[in-house]
Subunit: 319 residues, 6 copies
């Protein structure tokens, strides 16, 4: 951002209690309230691509609500004041059609392109994983080509079609590969686990250009080892991170559409993300928070914290 302006800060928790005040993410200013914006938080409340438990349409508002509680001034793990070194703002929601997946994808693509014309990076709160496809399209447009993709998820999300539908929450990365939206030599799944629909799933997936860090590997590898494998894979490429909250164990994130046991802890994912500081993170999404299945804001709080970590990574991006 221009060095003349001091970023507008979130409402302070010492003046307005955290349970009061604006409903923006972390009580940040709205996008319309800032002159320039480095990072925008945007909601995409869409879940018509869900195959099992729906409800991620309520994800953005619940993650914003949980984000009230974040203490955000200074992050010691990144040694940065993420809202001081860059202007962060809440861009509201991209409205999209709940009854027509194709139209919704167009609306998300259009909305995110328009937003990326105004801001440097976006961190999107889903919605189901269908939305990753139009978001990747917009990011490619912004960056001028494909990105390294790091995909945290219990599931591969690289099926071909589901009930004949090419665009659902189980297929975005196959479509993205077909459209060459990510670098096939610099992308990764992290946290994959569980049985598969077919013996071909993993093979197909490898052919799409992914390497995988299986969730079980967190049982035998240190975080440092895992971080190194990710960094080696992504290199210096511009990076997009897509996080399906079901990469977390259901104990840590019950409020999601297709929970899968034996997942990551929040401590593991935060430490992996912190290891990625220094990468060139161009944008990111956090998807599949379904609040109707949440309890005590467990899942929303995890997602809000992850969004905040992503903002910190961007704050530490190399210039």
């Amino acid at each position: 951002m221009s060095d003349k302006k001091k970023p507008i800060q979130p409402v302070s928790g010492t003046i307005v209690p955290r349970y009061a005040g604006p409903s923006t993410f972390a009580r940040l200013p709205e996008l319309r309230d800032v002159e320039e914006c480095d990072v925008a938080i945007v909601g995409v409340p869409f879940d018509a691509g869900t195959s099992y438990r729906p409800g991620a349409r309520f994800g953005p508002q619940s993650v914003r609500q949980a984000s009230r509680q974040l203490r955000t001034n200074y992050h010691p793990n990144y040694d940065v004041e993420p809202f001081k070194v860059q202007q962060v703002a809440d861009a509201g929601d991209i409205a999209c059609n709940p009854f027509d997946i194709d139209e919704a994808i167009k609306q998300i693509e259009k909305g995110s392109i328009e937003l990326l014309q105004k801001v440097g990076s976006i961190v999107t709160i889903g919605g189901d994983h269908t939305i990753a496809l139009p978001l990747l399209r917009s990011i490619n447009k912004k960056v001028g080509g494909p990105v390294a993709l790091v995909h945290f998820d219990a599931h591969l999300d690289t099926w071909d079609t589901y009930f004949g539908a090419p665009y659902t929450h189980g297929t975005p990365f196959r479509r993205a590969r077909e459209e060459k939206l990510f670098l096939d030599d610099a992308s990764m799944h992290i946290g994959i686990r569980g049985p598969l629909y077919s013996t071909n799933d993993l093979k197909n997936d490898r052919e799409l250009g992914f390497k995988t860090i299986h969730c079980d590997e967190f049982q035998t590898n240190t975080i440092d080892q895992i971080v190194k494998r990710i960094k080696d894979r992504i290199g210096n490429n511009p990076l997009y991170i897509s996080i399906d909250i079901d990469v977390l164990d259901p104990a840590h994130a019950p409020g999601t559409g297709t929970p899968e046991v034996a997942g990551m802890t929040t401590r593991e994912i935060l430490n992996v993300l912190r290891g990625l500081a220094g990468s060139q993170l161009v944008s990111a999404d956090v998807v599949e928070v379904a609040p109707a299945y949440d309890h005590a804001e467990l899942t929303s709080t995890a997602a809000a914290t992850i969004v905040y970590e992503l903002i910190n990574i961007i704050a530490r991006n190399p210039k």
Copy 2:
């Protein structure tokens, strides 16, 4: 049914505890297990037409689970043994596409037509209210023309389109009227309440052929008075009853997609239904049970009981 056969009964609660045994509605036989069938219970787990809280796709299984607890041998209000005078069976679910409303509607229509070729009547468990349209089409085909329609709901469900979509859970009865699927001089809304999208809503609705018993009228009318108004309206026409569970007050049915306060009690709806004994009920549906928002099976138990009452009305149909 042929008088040679004795109907196969539900599994007895004195032999197999109610929490055990088959997961069919009321632990009835499956359709494939009976030679002839008078009334089939069928699930339509579809909720892609939902505008607010999704989750009615889990309605059929949750209503079946709650129906385990029903004591079903003899209903004193109808003075009938509904599973002795007719064969009732569970026909399972009609599978339909979660990602394509148009295809799903075709699947529901096809599935229910095929079912009605095998059985006398169906009582359908939704799913969202979108499904009422293909069900009415099938019933028209079965009956050979339009039916009297009694529609219990907090909302009119006669909007034109929503987000450009003609087929959603807010529009089935406008489409049905356009297709002349119900008798415009013998149909009724019951339980309507709350503010409206437009001053034209009620006017438009009347032009579609509905009369309305507003929910507030239960505060000033006796059940007998209300029953009389309904019976006068429907006459001797073949009758279809469509019950959106949100006609009940949220205190009685929290687990639904668009709850509206100031609704009916379960005692009121059961007494109204019992008043309709002697009508010619050809089929019925109970929709919009969204278990993710339910508590202690409140909503599912209400819906299961209502399904059972409908079976009793059919058992008392004039020959």
Copy 3:
């Protein structure tokens, strides 16, 4: 109680906040802390007689917890200070065998007889309805013969056996009748509703000496009319009231084992109970609170309030 003593009062809410202090019912003194006791509250945490949802074993503690919130000094409907005109105390729980119904019944009978030797009346918190049988035995012993029985319940609880078991929560009043524990010309069911196991249920029940006020009658009768029918039936006989919390609608009491829709409201039951002031209430029970299915202490608060109303009726007993 002897007129020399002033009753020991519950802990005052103006000195110790209601969420603090002793866990006795309404923060009353323990039985061991008073010299004489007119009314004892006693828990019977037993649920091995449950046919569907178990968990009433946690009823006594949850009702006591909910009772913390009761404001109890003066009851304007009875115009009495129920803890000033009589000594009320909490007698703790009667421990009983969770694995052997027969032994548990003996323990409950023994425990309640011993308690009734020390106190004037007991109000028992269940536990499932199985416990009404040994309690009636003890009351008969105390009173010297059968009592008028007013039974609030969704279900008759007069089956013969269930899985061959003569003592379960569905059979206590058939056993009680066989043992002539209540007056067959002065007893009543109130709130009965729903379908039945057999066409004989109601007939059998009448032969056992019950009259019934069906729950639907609350839709057409005033409370005064219903109270009058009850009072006419019970006359001046010593009265035992047994209240299955499922007499309430599940909206008012979700936390119970066999919920039945179309039930009474809490406003209806409280007004009926208040109408019974002036009867000779010798003891009472409130059963079938299953907290695992409760929400926000709805059911426990209803039960605690009902226990408190019963204490007020006893306070107003004719001398």
Copy 4:
């Protein structure tokens, strides 16, 4: 409002799905977005005056969240388009000190006075009932003297002190009376029920100038009769309505701090409010929504609907 301007409308549910878009009440414009404002919705997230279950600090955000679902264009009971005949906007929250009741009361008074200088009326979402005192002070200042007060509540809230504290959620109306903030010949409690702390409670209360419609009277009176008694009492005086959500039965409003069984239904309160159309409603509050104890947004939806009804009454105010 000036007749030159057309009021800015809430975001339309046919363009932006109701689960998306701004988090203001009913997705209304923010106060800063309108030039003139007739009615402002304002949150007062304060609960340090709570004696039992805390958590009403989360009331404003949860009521706003539930208000997303309201269909608001036209209210047939009032025959008015409440957002067309007046400008309504969301004024956000009045921040107040969670640790110091006295300072918080000053902040609420100051904040509401400032707000009332800008807008015609306010409808406040609490917070606990402590806030009614500073709100009444501000209204008196706005109106230029005391108002008729209609107070819906299970409890009198006219105690003197509690733990020595003069300002808590149990005392606002005694303080208000001492400060002569309401007309002692035109004020009323509605929905009072339950036992009392002392035999003097009702007597004291009458001396403060209240008449009471006991909740049990809804069992024996028609809504019309009750409305008439209220209207006769308030006359043509400027009216302030204060609604403690616990006036509703816990079945209808479990999410509150001191639930009391045997309460009003939502159908009853809405019908009473609708009867008050034509009064001169100057401002109002809805308090004591404690979302941690709510389920499926039952309580928040009831409160949001009541806020909307109050807006309609103001829309119908005589000029």
Copy 5:
């Protein structure tokens, strides 16, 4: 199974959405639908042996419901298609008396013996741990002698009696030892933790022939080390695995009767089970799922996944 037949597969999730279709485990065929059966899933809904929180009687149906979501075609950890190499089917529930533990045990023994005459192996879903005793008897009969027993549990379940009852959920393995149902030199507890009833508990337990892997050892040992200890202990003996779901930490399995903190994660137990591939698993049970205490199907999903893992182990059994 005979190599002529191709196993009947579960209903495909690409034809019938997972929330629809049959309620059998993983939507497998019913036992009556297959000619031969290698592995049967069977429910034993019995919880009268429970000492604290009851409700495991609802375990089988809730585990089946959660199993809908399993993707089951191919398990990469075992490199097997478990439903292709063997016929798996759902055998329904064994009905047993809820009021008489002794009779229930006989019914379970009889039911499982009859089932094992028809199928190769059974994986039983409880029900409380009482059922392990009759199941072990049946397995002994099938195998022709005692088996190696691997018992995952927070508790030893080797008490002598409880309230005089020899058969409860705390005693099955002491009874089993007395009946010599397992090999005292090849059996193990895994996951034991927490304080004990007596200093003798562990000593007694060792005398019964158990070795123990304490849950804390997962903090200091690798999964490989633990697997090796188990495999060394069981040798090549026919193996029975009994899994009390409370071996998991309550964060992973809240829905159980006697939760004990500091437990295993789902990732740990799945990895241990996968390490046991190659053993001769003859049958297994998963018990103590009490859905009333579950949230978002956390516990049921864990149990369903474990059942599926056990099916995979059997699929990999040495011939």
Copy 6:
């Protein structure tokens, strides 16, 4: 304790089922029932110092309720029978003013001093963390000077003021340091994590005399290493342990006021505590259990178990 007396034991779970009997912690005797007391469990139900989610006022009763389930006779990790080698009793609650933090702090200080005159040690159940200050004052008085302080928490709790309030749940340890209540060369935070309010937070904290074991270090250090660092730090000084339950991950302790993801597991904290056996633990507290946000007693059970572990440490104190 004097060696003449045998300690009075908790009510035995083999005589009175655990869900029955007294509501004291672990069903221990009340303090008034024992002649001498080594360790008293005391509740301080106070939460007016809470900045986000309130409700810890219900902590003591919910922890006591969860403690019913503890098996307590013998703890193998400590090899001690903690209720045999010392008399432990429940001292009830210290009543304190919910509306006045200053008065409440005085009441807690006075109450705990009086209690410590009667008993050797106290283990306090909160209540919010505000209470640690008056408790430390009392302990200093008892011990005759400052103590080593081991503070388990997600947060530093060493802010200066919050909304001008010097005494809140975020400030106790700054006040304690100012009053020199703990040894600045022997105190530690454990489990700290998450972003901070300011870059100065950690620096200020170090100046107050704390060293910190960050929660992430549990990812890279063994429990033994961590225990050694703690023991080295505290030396042989008298030790006070203050445990904010939010030191646990929200998956393990959802029911708290300011949850912070990426926390400790219950297995980790229990193993650390067990490592501290042999220290000179003079007293301890467990705070911030907010049951309204708990599920299935997860948090209360964790807290109850931790209280029990602390009793075991005291039982193993060097003489």
